[in-house]
């Protein structure tokens, strides 16, 4: 049921208090938070720094504007409505396709125009934003997610979280939505977290509800063969977010688009600690190593450094050698 602080320390696990004081408090200037807390600002900034993000269909800034959503959505098959200042994936409405007057969610349930408008109205009134302050609704085009991951996910789009510390990608995981998580990619709701090797972009270990897992609970597909295409590009994008925001301790959420490759979905100035569970390893040794590195190194060198020092062998492959051999044939 319980472990000891000494064993956690030996594993290099960092806790919430340490994350807050030692990393977020020290490396993330409060002044810069709006850049990442407001997804609209992040998006505009990303465009300046040539970091790919999902295309923006439009924004709704006034309750009056809610009535024009239908015209705005004309001609777009799928779209996502999200609050600019939402947190923890709250208030994100995904519409996969439009069928007649109805909007269809990935789960298949139908929404009327009023439902969509009400959702936008709720976003504007601050229902999903931090502290309930008035907000702006962002409408983005749906990501055409890479079919290679079809077997690894249930309904939702799998996203890749990379922790970037002082510009170095230190740890990564992929979050696979499940039936238990209701298509959402939040680990505490039951999504599967897959630790990703920084060097190669392949799966190291999988966890669901904090317990080790070797396959996806819904599709039954094993996780060992999971390999992220365009890994190098993805790491470079993630590392570039340091120059873009100047935030030292950053969680970057990336998605893979069939046509555009890795894209930045959003940034998080207070990334969670579940990534340690998915990787079966603590962040601390890696963060300590990065802290010793000098400033002012280019993104490519940083990525190379991280790939060299943080390479790991998959636990999935070693523990389940025979199935991997079969699937690779």
């Amino acid at each position: 049921m319980w472990t000891t602080p000494a064993r956690l320390k030996a594993k290099g696990i960092i806790g919430m208090n340490r994350r807050n004081i030692r990393y977020i408090g020290r490396y993330n200037d409060r002044r810069l938070y709006p850049l990442v807390d407001d997804k609209l600002k992040t998006k505009l900034l990303a465009q300046q720094y040539a970091i790919t993000t999902p295309a923006l269909i439009g924004t709704v800034t006034t309750q009056f504007g809610v009535k024009h959503i239908r015209e705005m959505l004309m001609g777009h098959a799928g779209f996502v409505i999200k609050p600019a200042k939402g947190s923890g994936g709250k208030g994100i409405l995904v519409v996969e396709r439009v069928d007649g007057g109805d909007y269809i969610k990935p789960s298949g349930s139908r929404l009327s125009l009023e439902d969509v408008e009400r959702h936008a109205s709720n976003i504007l009134s601050g229902l999903y934003s931090l502290g309930g302050s008035p907000d702006v609704a962002l409408i983005e085009s749906l990501i055409n997610f890479d079919e290679t991951f079809g077997e690894y996910t249930y309904e939702g789009v799998p996203d890749i979280r990379v922790i970037v510390f002082k510009g170095y990608p230190v740890m990564a995981m992929m979050r696979l939505s499940t039936a238990a998580s209701d298509g959402k990619a939040n680990l505490h709701q039951g999504a599967v977290g897959v630790g990703i090797d920084i060097a190669t972009g392949t799966a190291i270990r999988g966890v669901q509800f904090d317990r080790a897992r070797h396959d996806h609970p819904d599709t039954g597909h094993e996780l060992a063969s999971l390999c992220i295409p365009g890994w190098q590009t993805l790491l470079l994008l993630a590392a570039g977010c340091y120059e873009m925001t100047s935030l030292g301790y950053l969680g970057t959420d990336m998605v893979l688009d069939r046509d555009h490759g890795p894209m930045l979905l959003e940034l998080n100035a207070r990334p969670g600690l579940a990534i340690q569970m998915a990787n079966g390893e603590g962040l601390r040794p890696r963060l300590d190593l990065i802290e010793q590195q000098p400033e002012g190194i280019g993104a490519e060198e940083r990525v190379a450094f991280a790939q060299h020092h943080f390479a790991r062998r998959s636990e999935l492959a070693t523990t389940e050698a025979p199935p991997v051999a079969v699937s690779s044939v």
């Binding site: 319980w2 472990t3 064993r7 956690l8 806790g15 004081i21 601050g126 229902l127 569970m277 079966g280």
Partner: protein, 503 residues
């Protein structure tokens, strides 16, 4: 980045906080625990005299704070008389005056004295020995022989005093002493002899405290000085030292009572002893305390504000509980300090009533809020609707419980309604987004925190400490600063991260 200044600030806060608390404990005898009983003596002095019909002036010595006793309060009752308090050379006197008085007169003075082992004498100057003591014949030879005899058998002023007084006791009286006693009163005589021998001494008057005694009078004692030291001697037997129950009423060698314009004056004393809670004793003591900075005290405020402050000073304790639970344990609550406000409400309602009331209001509120979410309202309007709903629920429960004869139900009105409304709103959103499980976790966490905060804030000892020792607030501040610096694991993280350590 050095953390030294931070730790210096923390250390400074701790030192000042502890220092202030200890100072209050030592200097004002504020006890560390609320239950401590202190003995308080109520002493009443009654002055009787027959007035001559003209102007009258009465002067009486008053007791002051001394070894073992501290004056708490004093009152006088003297209709028609003008009254002034005089203070000179560390002795206090009351002076009554009246233009015209006839017949039997009574003046009352009463004082409350706290038995306080730490109390110390106010400094009184050592009396100078009278330079030349002149005796008439044949007393001069008798006196010098008595002094000679005692001097030869003593080594210092105290032993000299003991020997001298001893020589005047019944079984050791010599011819010389008997001769002297025929002419002089015993106590002034002894003082005079001591002074002649170059020993500083004075006559003081004390009251033997005995519970329930009435019509007592003062007894004479001899105070002998040796440099900075002094000792009290019983003039009857020469015993050195002060009995514990002796209160020195007049200790500077002056008269106890002086009456001008009257005859047959005398003063009698009656006394009672009772125990009262130390806190109350302290309160009456501080009520008349001086307004120095170190005596800065909530007790100097009017009673109503004091009651208010008692609650306000408890808030940091509740907040500390929240900080402990969040930083060291990792409990999730709905709204950071909402549990403290709920705990404050629990103090008014008592725990069980409060818990039942809280659960009822939140449960009914959630059901109604669920309906409101179908109406597609703007946030502020919806929360306002919830506030009105909460008020309606509270009114309904109050009326219902009153009808059923449950007066406890009326106390539900102590709940902070706007806070409750926000709690309902937040929980409702949580329910929609994360499911009922998360609502249970956060709601349960909030309630647990509230109950613990309530237990801490309702603890009599903690109430006593926070109210009486303002320094504790600084200590709390230092503790919270230290907690804010804690980078270790939370208790619940030991469980959360356990799977990682398993392989």
């Amino acid at each position: 980045m050095s953390r030294l200044p931070f730790y210096l600030v923390v250390a400074l806060l701790l030192v000042i906080g502890i220092g202030m608390s200890v100072h209050r404990h030592v200097e004002f005898e504020v006890p560390w625990t609320p239950g401590e009983q202190r003995q308080v003596w109520e002493i009443e002095a009654q002055v009787n005299f027959r007035a001559d019909g003209g102007p009258a002036k009465v002067e009486m010595a008053l007791p002051s704070t001394q070894d073992g006793y501290r004056v708490l309060t004093e009152h006088t009752a003297s209709p028609g008389y003008g009254l002034t308090f005089l203070e000179e050379n560390g002795s206090r006197r009351a002076r009554w005056s009246i233009r015209e008085a006839r017949g039997s007169q009574q003046l009352y003075y009463s004082a409350q004295l706290l038995v306080a082992p730490q109390a110390r004498n106010a400094d009184r100057p050592t009396p100078k020995p009278l330079p030349a003591v002149v005796w008439e014949r044949p007393y001069d030879t008798a006196a010098s022989e008595v002094i000679e005899r005692a001097w030869s058998r003593s080594s210092d002023p105290f032993t000299f005093a003991r020997e001298l007084i001893g020589d005047f006791t019944e079984d050791r009286q010599s011819e010389n002493t008997r001769l002297l006693l025929t002419q002089f009163d015993r106590v002034p005589l002894l003082v005079r002899l001591l002074n002649q021998a170059g020993v500083a001494a004075r006559e003081v008057n004390g009251l033997m405290l005995e519970h329930g005694r009435r019509r007592q009078s003062l007894t004479s004692w001899i105070q002998v000085y040796d440099g900075d030291q002094r000792a009290l001697f019983n003039p009857a037997d020469g015993a050195q030292g002060r009995p514990d129950n002796l209160l020195l009423w007049e200790a500077s060698g002056q008269s106890v009572l002086e009456v001008q314009g009257g005859t047959n004056s005398r003063v009698t004393f009656s006394m009672l002893s009772r125990n009262q809670p130390a806190a109350a004793a302290v309160r009456s003591q501080l009520a008349r305390g001086s307004d120095t900075l170190l005596n800065f005290s909530i007790h100097s405020l009017p009673l109503e504000e004091q009651a208010l402050f008692q609650t306000i000073l408890l808030l940091p304790i509740g907040a500390l509980v929240v900080v402990l639970l969040r930083v060291l344990v990792g409990i999730k609550t709905s709204g950071t300090f909402m549990p403290v406000l709920i705990a404050l409400a629990f103090i008014q309602t008592t725990l069980v009533t409060g818990l039942i009331g809280f659960l009822l209001v939140v449960a009914v509120g959630l059901v109604i809020r669920n309906y409101l979410s179908y109406l597609n309202l703007l946030l502020v309007a919806r929360v306002t609707a919830v506030i009105i709903t909460v008020i309606a629920i509270i009114s309904l429960f109050s009326v219902l419980s009153y009808r059923f004869g449950l007066n406890a139900g009326l106390q539900i009105t102590f709940f902070p309604m706007i806070i409750l409304s926000w709690t309902i709103e937040r929980m409702s959103i949580l329910w929609e987004e994360e499911g009922p499980k998360e609502v249970l976790i956060q709601g349960g966490g909030s309630l647990l925190t509230a109950v613990l905060a309530y237990l801490a804030m309702n603890n009599p000892w903690i109430r006593h400490i926070t109210f009486n020792f303002l320094g504790v607030q600084l200590i709390l501040m230092a503790l919270i600063l230290l907690l804010g610096n804690y980078t270790g694991y939370r208790l619940l993280e030991l469980r959360r991260f356990k799977p990682v350590t398993e392989d």
